[in-house]
Symmetry: C2
Subunit: 139 residues, 2 copies
DNA sequence: ACCATTTCATTAGCAGGCTATCGATTGGGG
DNA sequence: CCCCAATCGATAGCCTGCTAATGAAATGGT
């Protein structure tokens, strides 16, 4: 009996590597496109809010957004009402790469799941969600 | 329509985190148990051979095994026939933790897939394998 | 027998994750 | 009003992964 968790790990790693390869030509690295996708939908979020939405630790967001700031994708704006908060605002460049990056991501998803039947795709979705639920329970 | 790749990423991350938590009490970190499992099956492999079997880059193996050597899990032995090669040999300690670690891993796999029906499990396996195959094709 | 190519392990340097800690600001209770 | 707790971003330090470059050893062709 094959180890489902190993297949899961291997599949995710291959997808992740391919995703990085797909994003690179657009000057964006693998975790960065996730941050961009959230900000494209809602700009000027704080690092903490981004961390919650992406299920990442705040320092991960801070480090990555610092690099993204250096790359000219976004800028840090102090919140006028709360001195503790920082707003991450997309630059024109950060907004400009939305279309090509989303298209690259769409192509990747298409390629990855091209050989799956509709039923397999549906069951895969359900099964992954069940795993996520099981692992999200405390303990 | 939900993004299957996001579910895949999220499921893998949760499993990976839980795996790390499960391994930690045994003094082993997340990537290290994979190396151990290969060596339990066949000892005294070289870093390059391990890298091929685990689909990792050689420097990753070198760095991790260096830490494992410091932790007393294995030792480096020069190959008597080929001066370029290094053999990674498990210590008594590295062999001793096999049972508890495999048990922890088994429990984790059980917990992760507990809510899946037999059919869902089977389809999940097939679907993940198809994704792996699709992403393994060059380009 | 020599020299160039290949094949290894290793090192250096980077990105993406994490936890623990620090410092500053906000907010609430006395 | 003031101080203490909560909240937030940033920093330090760790592990895992990668590519590129280094250096040593083996191999093969001439």
């Amino acid at each position: 009996m094959a180890d489902v968790l190993r297949l899961l790990t291997r599949a995710q790693k291959l997808v992740s590597t391919a995703s990085d390869d797909a994003m690179r030509p657009h000057g964006v690295r693998i975790g960065q496109n996730l941050i961009l996708e959230v900000l494209w939908d809602e700009d000027e979020l704080t690092p903490g809010e981004l961390a919650r939405r992406l299920h990442l630790a705040p320092p991960t967001i801070v480090k990555t957004t610092t690099r993204m700031e250096a790359a000219g994708l976004l800028e840090r704006i102090p919140d006028p009402l709360d001195g503790r908060l920082v707003r991450l605002r997309l630059t024109a460049h950060g907004r400009a790469c939305q279309t090509p990056i989303q298209e690259a991501r769409r192509l990747l998803a298409e390629r990855a799941t091209a050989d799956l039947t509709a039923e397999e795709r549906a069951v895969l979705e359900v099964a992954l969600q069940k795993i996520i639920d099981a692992m999200s329970e405390q303990q």
